[in-house]
Amino acid sequence: MKVAIIAANGGLFDAYKVFNIATAAAATDAEVGIFFTFEGLNLIHKQAYKQLPLPEGKEHFQEGFQKANVPSIEELVSMAQEMGVKLIACQMTMDVMSLEKEHFVEGIEVGGAASFLNFAKDANVTLSF
């Protein structure tokens, strides 16, 4: 199985949607690639991914996350990488936002739309968050 995911939003909810599916897929022996673009870049940004915002008015869910013992995004990202999930940051958005590869977690790749399409062309599951 091959799973291709586009992460285009930068909130905490978005991060969980992306990384829960990605780690579950990787644990199911799938080849997984995530393309981070626009605000989605926050999800792998060294500082930003430690304190991703909850949607406005939904801040009270913070408690629920703790109660349900949900792993942190940092943990999920390192788990995903450990299981071979490919993380691709979008070069064009990085240029627009003046971001460099060093601003992101170790082990990511940087590529353009064509690199993601090349990965996704034979994917069984394609998701966009």
Partner: protein
């Protein structure tokens, strides 16, 4: 009911997708054919582990609820069984076996699957000796009996049939395919 597992994974208190991720890791510690017990409190874990097993080709045996703890049992896929090379020629079909049982014929049904597989459903009255223990437990069987050996798919029972006939057992039948296609009566260990 108490079920023997080769490996116990504690995933209690963990939310999705952690039980799956931990299971995946733990599975690498198991040998093919071994059984893992996964303890979880995530209510979605039953459906998830069933689906996970199906996608990865492992075998989901069943789940026992103990208070808020769910104990899931999975058996790691074995390559031999996928290949399905049967060489023992004296075989009987599931229907033939069912007819014999319904006719109250004097036969012994020997189930050579793992104890956990047996616990979640076996032919009433079947004797459980896992393939790996057969050599040491031959004295529990009678050489003169008509012994029908069954497993899940017919591969382990094939090996067991060859072992027993080499040891001088008179009438040994391999039941094919196996419990995975059995539609006759079944009992579980807790009833």
């Amino acid at each position: 009911m108490s079920i023997t597992a080769n490996y116990v994974l504690d995933a209690k208190g963990l939310a999705c997708p952690m039980p799956i991720v931990k299971t995946k890791k733990a599975m690498t510690e198991l040998l093919p054919g071994q059984v893992i017990e996964i303890q979880a409190t995530d209510k979605g874990s039953t459906a998830d582990l069933k689906a996970w097993a199906e996608t990865t080709g492992n075998q989901y045996l069943g789940t026992i609820e103990e208070g808020i703890t769910l104990k899931h049992y999975l058996r790691k896929a074995s390559e031999n069984e996928v290949k399905l090379e049967r060489t023992y020629s004296d075989v009987v079909s599931l229907n033939e076996l069912l007819t014999k049982i319904e006719g109250n014929e004097k036969i012994t049904v020997l189930d050579v699957r793992e104890p956990a597989e047996y616990a979640f459903g076996h032919i009433p009255g079947a004797k459980s000796i896992p393939l790996g223990e057969l050599e040491q437990r031959l004295n529990e069987l009678n050489q003169e009996d008509e012994i029908h050996i069954i497993c899940r798919s017919g591969s382990r029972s094939d090996l067991a049939a060859k072992q027993l006939s080499k040891k001088g057992f008179k009438i040994i039948k391999n039941v094919v395919s196996g419990m995975k296609d059995w539609t006759g009566p079944v009992e579980t260990e807790n009833n």
